[in-house]
Subunit: 225 residues, 2 copies
Amino acid sequence: MPVEPNIEQLRRAAFLADSAPAELTAMLPFTEARQAHAGEVLLRQGEPAAHVFVLLDGAIKLVRTNGRPREKVVDALLPVATFGETAMLTRHGCPFTAVALEDSSLLAIRAEPLLELMRGRPVLLWRLLEHLSQREAHLLEQLERFGYYNAAQKLAAYLLDHYDRDHPVEPLLGLPPRRTDIASLLSITPETLSREIGKFKRRGWIAVRKGRISIRRPERLNALL
Amino acid sequence: MPVEPNIEQLRRAAFLADSAPAELTAMLPFTEARQAHAGEVLLRQGEPAAHVFVLLDGAIKLVRTNGRPREKVVDALLPVATFGETAMLTRHGCPFTAVALEDSSLLAIRAEPLLELMRGRPVLLWRLLEHLSQREAHLLEQLERFGYYNAAQKLAAYLLDHYDRDHPVEPLLGLPPRRTDIASLLSITPETLSREIGKFKRRGWIAVRKGRISIRRPERLNALL
DNA sequence: GCTATCCGTTGATCTCGGTCAAGAACGACG
DNA sequence: CGTCGTTCTTGACCGAGATCAACGGATAGC
């Protein structure tokens, strides 16, 4: 049974981080804790988003489904990330499909009353605008990198991006069990990914235990970029 | 001497398109017409943006300058596009450098009073939020495409994106005189771009006159994607 | 009009990463 | 514990596109 959400959990979301307690409390009535099992679809591309999600624990991938079998992962989210903010703002539907990579726990904020609440609290709008601005910057950076990075650089950038700063000593990556998802995100084949991981491992820059990767020499990875 | 801007020009900007005349009129005092000559830098990556720009005529490229000689074009803008909206919202400075590709005419709206105006008119905030949401969708699409498109597909997508719908009979592209910019945008080398253009020309799908490309068989280009 | 410079084009070669195929590790299930 | 099915790994080969280099054509400046 999911525990009732509280404002401390809401506060972990970047676009709500420094909101007044009163505003967060006002959201609780239409915020619910939600568990998603691995593989569960939370948002579907093209459909309107009824909720904004806050990922508290687990991992989520955002994929573009373009009809054809080729399905591209455009982002891999770790706690605490949010998604669905833009989907509720456009009538074109969600620009991606969100799938749980592993069993995850999230907050689901109903979009309609959230929008209504924001209508009366412009400060919330400002926060969201700033948040979307940062996301644009992030996407531009991704776009830039994919332009000229080779396979090793893509992997290094991915590993560094997901470096767990909370556990510097044993930085285990809690990410995609599925190597194919990482490969898709980096726009390389699983075979190439496997070879690059092998190279890094052989040089002692990373270690692999139970399929999970830990970074041993972040400075070496960074030197590649 | 630049003509005084009017609200009809402002209305051409997507995020202002259906604003009330009163709101647009309120912007006029801090909006000025600006001419930019080819090569002129309008915004610089990392620096705060003092203006939001509306491109009325000409062409602008957005480039990421990452220190190294490698400089990547992330977008090529045609009229009527806007840029700098996100730069004024984040304290991290502009996420790109904006350079005029040819002599261009723009509107420059001073950021500070614009933000102040928006503070009092939340409807303007909503429009901007919707606009940024659409841009995120656009960037995600770009990111997806770059994942698995080959050189020919990239070129076809670029040509179709910049197809001038106002001149269906003679759809001359008014874009980058510089082939190297197109190549950078598509993340291919100028040599490869040249070869692909050659192929399309040989098949009669496009025609080149004075360095400018016109599309003859858009349906063929579309079939590649 | 002549020359210099910069781009764009064309050709030859190389290389990174994709493709195809086989084998190894892992988890689920009976 | 063994079998199956899926995913990851490893190897051999191939091809799209990068690189290197030479040539052609446009624009600017004298």
